[in-house]
Symmetry: C2
Subunit: 304 residues, 2 copies
């Protein structure tokens, strides 16, 4: 499937061949899409960037702010003649978009995405991709608590992890090109199959989002005014709860098997800790907290 | 009990009387104790600061680094002749310390603390305080994921909330003095009874800590190597899990009635969300996430 050196985490490419796209189309010009546009522009990877999205006003502002060169009201028109089409909408509409733009894709066009769910969706997207064009899934793991083009910035992908998710039928030259693209934007690329991707992200991202949302809701149930006393600890723990609800609803539903399985593991742990508290088991509680504390310290305190 | 203007959040005092302590004793010279020392020094609120703690080596370093002026190997000797004694150890040993230092306290000495649990402990501390000296509980809500004197800094309390917890028997002049102290260090003081304090902190601090610890442990159970893919979201959500286990074991046990009650409320919410996922209830999931997202956005993204 994948050349051995691609099968895992890789160092930054030392590939000095030039990479250039004549036209890049960004479908969904929000925080992620706009940051991608700014990044490929800064690295001079393309001649022209066309946008498409729900809000014409937002697209007009993106042109005015120099994020995209132009936009189209129709996703298929926007994708026509494009060398690279990147899906930067909520994942829930990826398949519908692919169905709609498929026939407009030029021969050799590469389609990738920035979605947080892969798994079945990748196989579906591949099946929807017309002969002669290519889909390879990508997931740059970068700043999801922001939204909107005004906070977008070209350095978003620098140093961030990016998981690229080929399947058995992926074209290896196209895969290498997608990996190269992310590495040129400064990302630390790992190659994983779509199902393993979803397990990883359910664990380190989707479950934590669910938990952050429900922690905020629980405190509001207890007594809304208590939020006046939220310090940095609470703010950190729940920061991702300000992420867009629509986005995370889609993600959690699309990856629900993993999310529910891991949620059940968490619930068992919480039941266990509840028991320790009830019976004043200082020793077991200490063991629990020490294990977590040691593991978390290894990750370091700084944001990427 | 409390003058009306103290009964809630207050603006910074515009009190221009000088405040001066001849000697301040800090019992437990870690991150919090050392930051307190640096803060009172910066505001020129005392002539001399004496320390006491578990590790002589740490105390010696604190003297060398200009955090404290001197230290004693015995907490009672350290507290002798002190105008202000501040407990900055884990809360689990507060009562033992008070029993031990009580007879050494001078007439008019004020004892306060920086502990995260109040409730019964405050009544116990008051009962242990000898006639002629005074205990008033304080809880500055500030940076608990750090530890050790090397990261201590005098601005820790600037702009942070501080809950002061008098009881029916507290001396109102002493209470005013303790409030004044924290306000001079830049804190936004609120006065609450000890039990209300514990409900507030169980909600915005103790439960979130428990959750962060158990989230890290759950991910480690799933697959330790997944932590390599932890992005800023996961780092934020679990930052407080690197807090000292011993500290949070004590806190969770001392406040377990509230922590368990709120944990049960969270577990119910998680059960509910699990149901939404299982039955693909996009609408209810959206409602859940939107409610949390709106509430969290109101708190703002920045750390204090």
């Amino acid at each position: 499937l994948v050349p051995a050196d691609l099968n895992g985490s890789r160092k930054r490419s030392d590939n000095h061949r030039p990479m250039h796209f004549n036209k890049i189309t960004i479908l969904g010009v929000g925080f992620m899409g706009a940051s991608f546009a700014l990044a490929v522009r800064q690295k001079r990877l393309c001649s022209r960037i066309t946008g498409w999205g729900r809000s014409q006003e937002n697209l007009r502002r993106a042109v005015r702010n120099g994020i995209i060169d132009d936009f189209e009201a129709d996703a298929a028109v926007a994708s026509k003649d494009s060398d690279l089409v990147i899906l930067a909408t909520p994942v829930g509409i990826f398949a519908d978009i692919m169905k709609y733009i498929g026939r407009s894709l030029k021969q050799g066009a590469v389609v990738t995405d920035m979605g947080s769910v892969k798994g079945r969706l990748v196989y579906e997207m591949e099946a929807l991709t017309p002969e002669g064009s290519f889909f390879i899934g990508s997931h740059p793991i970068a700043g999801s608590d922001r939204s909107g083009i005004d906070t977008a910035f070209p350095g978003l992908f620098e140093g961030a992890r990016c998981i690229v998710t080929p399947t058995n039928t992926s074209d290896s030259a196209i895969l290498a090109r997608v990996i190269d693209l992310w590495e040129r934007l400064g990302s630390r690329v790992a190659v994983r199959n779509p199902d393993e991707h979803d397990r990883i992200c359910a664990a380190v991202s989707h479950l934590p989002h669910l938990l952050a949302y429900e922690l905020v809701n629980t405190i509001a149930d207890i007594e809304l005014s208590y939020l006046d006393f939220a310090g940095n600890g609470f703010k950190d723990t729940t920061r991702i709860a300000s992420s867009r609800a629509e986005l995370w609803r889609d993600i959690c539903l699309l990856n629900k098997e993993n999310v529910v399985r891991y949620l059940d593991m968490l619930r068992k742990r919480l039941d266990q800790v509840r028991e320790y508290l009830i019976r004043d088991d200082a020793e077991m509680l200490m063991k629990e907290f020490e294990r977590a504390s040691g593991l978390r310290q290894e990750l370091g305190q700084d944001r990427d």
